[in-house]
């Protein structure tokens, strides 16, 4: 049993924080999806050529995270066996009921886009391999080995359309997660029209950051050669989106402080007495200020590429921590004060158990396993252009 520290008067049913680390992980993973997909779309739709080396990888990353975006919820639900009822017998007045549809729609878009992007590669392998592998690639190609120029041009057009549909879908998917919290008027820490915007922007920065970290790790420890222009471009986008994200988070806090509604006294106590480290220390402090300044230098100043990459990479790691802290502060923070507005409770995640840290860690690592397996079947990166550059 976790120890609960309380102070002041809590309603008797407010002792426990019911939305655990699993509900923190859910928007975190979902956010990584949205961010990764945006990077892919920057290349496929907006033609940002520098991002070409990670365009395929970001799409696969989005898919891998998407596969596990909902699993934390299943570990949280009292009756996970009834989870699909959200789609079978939905009640549309609920903000939550639409999630299943949005999620599945987006999953289909991402899957289709991956298929079209990888089609030439699949066909090539279906022709070159023998035996069971040939059968596998033939199945993956859905039996269509047509890769003449007309077919590939059509594929390319379809990819553009899918990516274009995918951008608003990614934005809706994550803005929607923010809406789940922002629309709860009973909770003064959540109820804010800015919440969907903040969730969306933090999703984008966390997605770009995880791609930077993964790309660097793969290049550092794998055979892939790091494309400097590509990673520089990612730093640029990360900085731009992070400025917006930080501004929105700051503006929301400022609004709370300035309006000083009658609930603010307990929310401010909660922040200073329960979340001082994760909110002021991490989310607003170290993990925001350092990346904001350092990324500015990384993007604007002349410096050696190796220094630039090290600094940018460190910022990406800090931003990943910042977004995780933000998710924690929003979701756990919103449950640390009672609706009596007179008392605080506490939440410490357990290590073991269905909603423990260990399960959370395993769930977070699963998308990376998916990416690894995917790479065994189809390459995450397009190797030829990199070789040319070197």
């Amino acid at each position: 049993m976790q120890e609960i520290i309380t102070s002041g008067f809590l309603f008797p049913n407010d002792l426990h924080a019911h939305w655990s680390i699993m509900i923190v992980l859910y928007p975190y993973i979902t956010g990584l999806v949205a961010g990764a997909f945006i990077v892919s779309s920057l290349y496929h739709v907006f033609g940002v050529q520098e991002l070409k080396p990670v365009a395929r990888f970001s799409l696969v990353a989005a898919f891998a995270f998407l596969l596990f975006a909902c699993t934390p919820l299943l570990f949280h639900l009292g009756h996970p066996e009834r989870a699909l009822n959200i789609m079978f017998t939905p009640k549309f007045t609920s903000a939550m009921s639409g999630f299943g549809y949005i999620y599945n729609f987006y999953l289909i878009i991402v899957l289709l886009e991956i298929w079209f992007v990888y089609r030439p590669e699949i066909i090539k392998r279906a022709r070159e391999t023998r035996g069971p592998l040939k059968a596998l690639y033939w199945c993956l190609a859905l039996g269509s080995l047509n890769d003449n120029e007309t077919a590939l041009t059509l594929d390319h057009k379809i990819i553009g359309v899918l990516a274009a549909i995918g951008i608003p879908s990614a934005c809706i998917l994550h803005g929607y997660v923010g809406f789940l919290f922002g629309s709860l008027k009973s909770n003064p820490w959540w109820s804010s029209p800015l919440m969907p915007v903040i969730f969306l922007l933090s999703a984008i920065v966390s997605g770009i950051s995880i791609l930077i970290v993964c790309y660097w790790l793969i290049c550092r420890f794998g055979k892939q050669i790091l494309d400097t222009e590509c990673i520089k471009s990612m730093f640029k986008y990360l900085w731009a989106f992070f400025i917006l994200d930080f501004a929105m988070e700051g503006l929301e806090l400022l609004t709370h402080i300035y309006e000083a509604h009658h609930e603010w006294h307990i929310v401010s106590q909660m922040l200073s007495r329960r979340l001082a480290f994760s909110f002021y220390g991490l989310q607003l402090g170290i993990c925001s200020v350092i990346p904001l300044i350092v990324l500015g230098f990384v993007v604007l100043k002349k410096m050696q590429d190796s220094t630039r990459i090290k600094l940018g990479l460190s910022c990406a790691v800090l931003i990943l921590i910042q977004v995780l802290a933000m998710r924690w502060n929003v979701i756990v923070g919103g449950q640390l004060f009672s609706k009596s507005l007179r008392g605080l409770t506490s939440y410490t995640p357990t290590i073991l158990g269905r909603e423990g840290l260990l399960v959370a860690l395993v769930l977070f690592l699963m998308p990376f396993v998916v990416m690894y397996v995917f790479n065994l079947i189809l390459p995450l990166f397009d190797k030829e252009p990199d070789a040319e550059k070197q």
């Binding site: 009292g78 017998t89 007045t93 939550m96 449950q335 009672s338």
Partner: protein, 248 residues
């Protein structure tokens, strides 16, 4: 001929989309605002008299026995407010007030006033919990009871987050959301709620709003009543006599 048919299908398609959009734009606001109570009449109300409650906790105990409420979870509870001469407010509810209250740890002279406030589900007219339930497991009956179908509830806790009164809890046995039903099973048998039945001072009253001889209609006429957190727009059907501004 071929073109005519194509034109017709095109026009019909646009008309269909256009009319769909038109209808949606005008009804969407109501649908999203969770107007779940169409056709529902709130026939019942619950009145709590904070001026007469003595904080004995019998109501909490009776509720637990009647509804098999798990330990340390509460369908109803009693809060004690002690307002001191310096204006500070002390609130407590040990074990939901189930075992009564120890004397307040203040000198009599330093106390301005002290009173008890029983709490329970407000069976709101515009309940947040019903609006947010993704599977319709929380619903309103035709006569205004807000109930939970435990065979349908998925245990997501969204309703608990949405309830401004913290009247809900996660039942550790059924793993579904749980709360006061105004003893729906007893009302259907023509009885009153368990808490009302055991209250020794009549601080809790329950009945039909439209019964002129019933206790509710009489108090509605005789007293000025207040609800908890009216600013949330939930329109609670639990009404309070003598509610102090410090109570939330």
């Amino acid at each position: 001929m071929k073109h005519d048919r194509r034109e017709f299908i095109k026009k019909a398609g646009w008309t269909f989309i256009g009319s769909g959009l038109y209808i949606n734009l005008f009804t969407l606001d109501k649908a999203l605002a969770g107007s779940t109570c169409t056709g529902i009449r709130n026939l019942y109300a619950f009145i709590v008299n904070t001026e007469t409650c003595i904080g004995c906790g019998k109501c909490v105990e009776a509720c637990r026995v009647e509804n098999n409420v798990p330990p340390e979870n509460y369908r109803t509870w009693v809060e004690r407010y002690t307002i001191l001469q310096d204006g500070s407010v002390e609130v407590d509810s040990p074990h939901g007030g189930e075992k009564g209250f120890e004397p307040v740890p203040f000198k009599k002279t330093s106390i301005q006033k002290s009173f008890f406030v029983p709490k329970l589900c407000n069976h709101c007219k515009e309940p947040n919990c019903v609006q947010v339930c993704p599977v319709g497991a929380t619903y309103v009956t035709d006569d205004g009871f807000v109930l939970i179908d435990e065979k349908r509830c998925i245990g997501c806790s969204y309703c608990m987050m949405a309830c401004p009164y913290s009247a809900r809890f996660m039942n550790p046995v059924t793993h579904t959301a749980d709360k006061c039903t105004w003893c729906y099973h007893r009302i259907r048998q023509g009885k009153t709620t368990a808490c009302v039945e055991v209250c020794p001072v009549g601080a809790r009253l329950f009945g039909r709003v439209d019964d002129p001889d019933g206790p509710i209609a009489k108090l509605l006429k005789a007293k000025r009543l207040q609800v908890l957190k009216p600013e949330t727009g939930n329109e609670p059907m639990v009404l309070y006599v003598g509610l102090d501004k410090e109570v939330c």
